[in-house]
Assembly symmetry: C2
Homo-oligomer: 115 residues x 2
């Protein structure tokens, strides 16, 4: 299997996965495999090995709260939802991301010089 951890893309993804998980949870509760599906489809993560450590971090930091729920078709799922701190963190992420992408836009547009 190709190791993607060494690619430039994997480096650019750093930090973004966390932001996107929070953004997705802003819409509604979701469980792990569901997040893996959405983020993989958009090319934002490469598999489960990214998401579970990430979710553990968010839980430890108190940005999400979780609830075990039974599934009608398989084993129980742990659902993740934003906490109040999580909402605040999401807003901060949104600002940082906006600033960052605007900076990149300027650099690429040749507006790297002052004035």
């Amino acid at each position: 299997m190709v190791t993607d951890g060494r690619s430039p893309l994997a480096q650019m993804r750093k930090g973004l996965a966390e932001y996107c998980v929070l953004a997705l949870l802003g819409g509604r509760e979701r469980y792990g495999v569901e997040l893996v599906e959405v983020l993989s489809r958009h090319g934002l993560i490469a598999g489960e090995g990214t998401i579970y450590p990430l979710l553990s971090r968010l839980r430890r930091q108190g940005l999400v709260v979780t609830t075990w729920r039974e599934s009608e078709v398989g084993p129980p799922r742990r659902y993740y939802a934003l906490s109040a701190d999580g909402v605040v963190a999401t807003e901060r992420f949104a600002r940082d991301w906006a600033a960052l992408s605007e900076s990149v836009r300027k650099i690429i547009a040749g507006e790297g010089e002052p004035g």
Copy 2:
């Protein structure tokens, strides 16, 4: 001194600095301190500790070529310019970045669901 390497911003910056350096060199030759100034001003790096290891990597990978030039006001400078491979890498970065930021846009816009 505050260690910024632990902040989410520092994580989101990963990979972007490299892309932006290449993009800046696409315009014209530049030297290290000049790159530090431009990228710091845009909030894309935190200092020299990022740029010199990065430039060494680019040199090792053959994406840039360097020329020592005397300065009229101080010690000699090492100027960096894109190689042919560097041009190709820049284009690949541009595509990756466009895809990535579009994905994030969709996630945030609530287009995380298929269909």
